[in-house]
């Protein structure tokens, strides 16, 4: 990698990190796993003047059970998330989606927080964050605040993080009993990004769908919640022929998918419908796929 030159800081506490970031100017960037940022530097598509490496900041890494929610530290790697018994038990959708991220090498470097902060609609975790109503914890030299996932993803590669703010951790609400989950990812090679992805959570009682959450990956400049599907699926009999398919037909409602080498928008819309159906069927079939 031959990037343009930059200053490099490696703070060891969060206080130090926010101070360094505050002092480093507009063009400074936080560096976590580097697996989204470094490719941009390599191609000289980004010219940050300073990188603040949060990889060794104490207290930002690890998963803990906090009663009504699971807390995932921002610098927890994808691999640690996938392997965490707490994640697998209480928010298996996170583990399912994270397991589809790239390949083992990327999962050992890339971080949970970095994936959200990068705000790439093609990333697998932003859609999951939306579907599960995660809450993001943020810190700057001015103090702490929280941002609900629904207000975090503003535009393509643009989040609600203000300059000087560092994402420190994420709260993933536990959903309680009766839920089934699935992440349906469609991609062209095993380590490619999603052409389209669907994160689904379904709660049923005696075969009747009570509640559905659907987040879509790569169907617009931000991840999107498929509200029309969630509405249409409520109350249907999961086993009834065609019921979930009819609900899934709404999946492309209100989306604005990109055109790129891997797919044109109309094909992405088609995929969203097919994959949403598959995700709903799988989520209703497997209550807890990971335990």
């Amino acid at each position: 990698m031959i990037p343009a030159s930059f200053d490099y800081f490696r703070p060891s506490t969060i206080e130090e990190a926010v101070d360094v970031l505050a002092g480093a100017g507009e063009e400074a960037k936080v560096l976590a796993g580097g697996h989204s940022l470094l490719p941009l530097l390599r191609l000289r598509l980004a010219y940050p003047t300073a990188l603040i490496d949060v990889g060794r900041v104490a207290g930002l890494r690890g998963v803990s059970d906090r009663g009504d929610h699971v807390h995932i530290g921002a610098t927890t790697t994808h691999d640690e998330v996938v392997r965490s018994p707490i994640v697998r038990e209480h928010c298996p959708l996170v583990a399912l989606a994270t397991a589809t991220v790239a390949d083992p090498a990327v999962r050992h470097r890339g971080t949970f927080g970095g994936s959200l902060a990068h705000a790439d609609p093609a990333g697998d975790l932003p859609a999951v964050a939306l579907a599960l109503d995660m809450v993001l914890e943020v810190r700057s030299s001015a103090g702490e605040r929280t941002i609900p996932a629904a207000g975090f993803f503003l535009d393509y590669l643009e989040s609600a993080l203000a300059p000087g703010e560092i994402l420190t951790g994420v709260r993933v609400p536990k959903l309680g009993p009766g839920w089934g989950f699935h992440y349906e990812k469609f991609h062209r090679t095993a380590q490619a990004w999603a052409t389209v992805g669907v994160a689904a959570a379904v709660r049923q009682t005696n075969g009747t769908v009570e509640e559905v959450r659907v987040g879509l990956t790569n169907m617009g400049p931000t991840p999107v919640r498929a509200a029309a599907v969630e509405e249409a699926a409520r109350g249907v009999e999961a086993g009834q022929n065609g019921a979930l398919r009819r609900a899934a037909e709404q999946a492309a409602e209100g989306t604005d998918p990109p055109a790129d080498l891997h797919a044109q928008p109309d094909y992405r819309m088609h995929l969203a419908r097919v994959l949403t159906h598959r995700a709903l069927v799988s989520a209703s079939a497997h209550r807890s796929p990971l335990t």
């Binding site: 031959i2 343009a4 062209r188 095993a190 380590q191 990004w193 088609h270 995929l271």
Partner: protein, 803 residues
């Protein structure tokens, strides 16, 4: 498509291979030796070109044209010169007087248009990525930073991006001389008679998409000089050819130029080239008197490594009502890109003699027009011409089967050359020396479970299963082992196709083999050691193989076209024969017998009918001492041989592929893949397996994944591996491989080349399977790569015209 690995089975396999590595008697040839070069290659403890560090070495970075077609109107390098660490900044103007023109060694016709090809553009750029300036600096970072300070103004010209439009009257021209480089024709038999009132005529057009060779090691060059002599290290497949060509291009006398290909991490044809960067690094080192290094980035490589394929193929077949082929007519447009590089125009010709495949016919007619466009030049890429030919004929055989209403395997049986007919001279005039298509096919069908899969296919069709099953066949042959020098001459190629070997016997009985082949992943050190061990009766471990340095290996034609074993390996055999003949004389002299009474086997010379014997090692020492040699005997056992083959080699085989196509998403999953190849006798089954596996992967990559895409301005869009999808093991099924062994009759080892066979065979097997799955939906073609989106769109339009 991933499968759980069985740890027990893996451990067992490792034990079996360990056993194979154990020294011991018996024949080396045929043994699945693990490759002796691999430890250093896979650990990186070796000299890749980019690892080379020379005192005072400077680094070069190239500024590349952002325009597909433009005139350079202003170049200002002054700001770049003031940047940190910059030693020199040069544009095309600075080299104009000395850079010459990059060579094309294969003017296929007398009137082939070969445009001037300056290594660095001077007045006009003709493709995105063409070098327009360079910075030489103390490190790579300084060089890359200073590139950004070079100012170049361009006056845009209209780019030529489509071959058909390029040939239309009045459009923009890539070169003054026009957009047609050549038209080359070839015919056998009476094509008009064949098509006249033929009961069946099928006419199809296939698109061979443009591909980007992706060697694991990017290209890299280190050039140095002492003011008189020059040394060029390059990640190249062709150190010997390169030396000659660079001498001719730069004016550095050949004897003052040493070219070294140290360990090289793959090429697939892309390093069978004389590149602009190699020439320019030599010129820079000549100018500055300092060593310089250039290593490309992957994105730079995607743009500027020569590309592969890119042909538009129109193929027509005339057949009788029972499907017997009367004749085949082929009209090709081949995209040359912006210039002709080393063998650019010859690539489609290597396919010209292969569109008849394994089949008999009365007439054949071939025309190829080479077309200039404002894109990266194309050139050899694994298979070079033969994958294209095999694809077209094997796709067409499936269409013919549908037309006649018989199973696609049956149509092949009706047309192929029978085992009993070999040697067989084809309609193209090639003599296939040996082969047994029946045997390879029967073996493949059994391994595949053909009938059972066909039953499952009908069942899924009846059930309207959204996931349809398709079966694809490819009964291929190819011509490789490039090549008989006379044939190359008749095709206007600029050089011969011989290969050279020196075998040196050291005083202690160890053996050094100097080969003119230039391995870059093929395992020649191992295979040549096996050949020598058997021939001279010395232990495998006692053989060292030297290659890739024109100072140690002065003579060679290098590695490409599946030629190394069938040409270079035979040169080794012949050199060993000469060594043995010399040693026999010494042995006879020492044992006081007539040479006619001395037999040689397993490393020992014996006097027939007596107990007297001497080992080859003893003879080696005695020859070294030279105290007691026959009168007039030159005290050395060393010998050289240069082998020029009398014919190509013709590996063949049957590949069968079953795919599941999800008609809802358009996604294709390969369910099973069986390859039964006949590459003649096998020196090392493990190496053959490796070549077959990698080859199949590369052919599948063309069928399903890879395509170089330019936009309507001529910008390459697939510059990274996120856009240009090279499949990994996780995207591929397990391959079931097997072999039949019909020895080649044209060389003493009975071997045929294996380097390209898998790639040549597999692409049509996969696409045939996809089309087979979708025929009930009215589909008769899917354009490559058969991406999910393309399959989905083809299904929606229910046709088969290129989507």
């Amino acid at each position: 498509m991933t499968e759980q690995l069985d740890a027990g089975a893996v451990a067992q396999q490792i034990r079996e291979h360990d056993a194979l590595d154990a020294p011991g008697g018996g024949s080396e040839v045929g043994r699945a030796r693990r490759r002796k070069e691999d430890a250093r290659l896979v650990t990186g403890r070796t000299q890749w070109t980019d690892n080379i560090q020379l005192p005072g070495m400077l680094h070069v970075a190239f500024l590349r044209s952002p325009m597909a077609h433009a005139r350079i109107t202003r170049v200002d390098t002054s700001a770049a010169r003031t940047r940190r660490g910059v030693v020199g900044v040069f544009s095309g103007q600075d080299f104009a007087g000395e850079q010459g023109s990059l060579p094309c060694a294969w003017p296929v016709t007398a009137d082939t248009v070969i445009p001037e090809h300056p290594p660095m553009a001077v007045t006009t750029v003709r493709y995105v990525g063409e070098a327009v300036a360079c910075v030489v600096a103390v490190d790579r970072y300084a060089a890359a930073d200073a590139l950004e300070a070079i100012e170049i103004d361009y006056e845009p010209l209209e780019p030529v991006l489509d071959m058909t439009e390029a040939l239309a009257e009045g459009g923009p021209k890539v070169h003054e001389a026009g957009n047609e480089s050549f038209t080359w024709k070839f015919a056998g038999g009476d094509i008009e008679a064949a098509f006249h009132e033929a009961p069946v005529v099928i006419d199809r057009t296939y698109v061979q998409q443009r591909l980007i060779p992706s060697a694991m090691e990017p290209r890299a060059v280190v050039a140095q000089t002492d003011g008189d002599h020059f040394t060029l290290h390059s990640s190249t497949q062709i150190p010997h050819v390169l030396r000659v060509m660079l001498a001719l291009t730069t004016g550095i006398p050949e004897h003052k130029l040493r070219v070294i290909a140290p360990d090289v991490g793959g090429g697939f044809g892309s390093k069978l080239q004389v590149t602009a960067e190699e020439v320019l690094c030599l010129l820079i080192t000549r100018r500055l008197g300092k060593p310089v290094k250039w290593t490309e980035s992957r994105s730079e490589g995607n743009m500027t490594v020569h590309h592969g394929r890119d042909q538009l193929q129109n193929i027509r077949v005339a057949a009788d009502a029972d499907g017997r082929i009367r004749g085949v007519q082929v009209k090709l447009l081949a995209d040359m890109g912006a210039y002709l590089m080393l063998v650019t125009p010859g690539v489609p010709l290597l396919g010209a003699f292969m569109y008849n495949g394994v089949y008999k016919m009365d007439a054949y007619d071939f025309t190829c027009t080479g077309v200039f466009t404002n894109k990266m030049p194309t050139d050899a890429y694994r298979g070079a011409g033969r994958p294209e030919a095999t694809y077209a004929i094997e796709r067409l055989m499936d269409e013919l089967a549908v037309e006649i209403g018989v199973d696609p395997m049956e149509i092949r049986r009706r047309n192929w050359i029978q085992h009993s007919e070999f040697p067989y001279t084809t309609i193209c005039g090639l003599t296939y020396d040996s082969g047994n298509y029946e045997a390879a096919t029967d073996r493949a069908l059994a391994l595949f479970g053909y009938d059972k899969l066909r039953a499952e296919q009908s069942d899924r069709r009846e059930r309207h299963d959204p996931v349809q099953l398709g079966i694809g066949i490819s009964t291929y042959t190819e011509m490789c082992g490039l090549a008989p020098s006379r044939v190359l001459g008749s095709l206007s190629y600029g050089a011969g196709g011989w290969e050279h070997a020196d075998v040196r016997v050291l005083p202690t009985g160890k053996v050094e083999v100097v080969t003119g082949t230039s391995p870059h992943g093929q395992g020649h050190e191992t295979a040549w050691s096996q050949i020598v061990a058997d021939s001279l009766g010395v232990p495998f471990e006692d053989v060292a193989v030297l290659h890739g340095d024109t100072a140690t290996s002065h003579k060679g034609m290098d590695t490409y076209g599946s030629r190394s074993l069938v040409v270079g390996g035979i040169a080794v055999v012949h050199a060993c024969d000469k060594v043995k003949e010399k040693a026999r004389q010494v042995a006879a002299h020492l044992m006081e017998a007539s040479p006619d009474d001395v037999e040689f086997s397993e490393g020992r010379f014996r006097v027939r009918g007596t107990g007297t014997s001497q080992t080859i090692q003893e003879i080696a020492l005695a020859t070294f001492a030279a105290h007691n040699l026959p009168d007039g005997f030159e005290p050395r056992l060393d010998a050289s041989a240069t082998f020029d083959p009398e014919n190509f080699s013709f590996p063949h085989g049957t590949h069968l592929c079953a795919v599941e196509v999800d008609t809802e998403t358009g996604a294709t999953a390969i369910r099973s893949y069986v390859a039964v190849d006949d590459v003649g006798n096998v020196i090392n089954p493990l190496i053959v397996e490796g070549q077959v596996h990698g080859g199949i992967a590369q052919g599948i990559a063309q069928a399903l994944f890879e395509e170089a895409v330019y936009d309507s301005d001529g910008n390459l869009l697939t510059t990274t591996m996120a856009d240009y999808l090279v499949p990994s093991a996780a995207d591929l099924p397990n391959f079931t491989t097997d072999r039949t062994e019909t020895p080649a009759t044209t060389n003493p080892l009975g071997v045929k080349g294996v380097g390209e066979a898998g790639t040549i065979a597999s692409t049509p097997a996969v696409v045939n399977a996809i089309v087979d799955a979708l025929r009930p939906h009215g589909v008769h073609d899917v354009r490559m790569p058969c991406t999910p989106e393309r399959v989905w769109r083809t299904l929606r339009t229910g046709g088969g015209e290129p989507a």
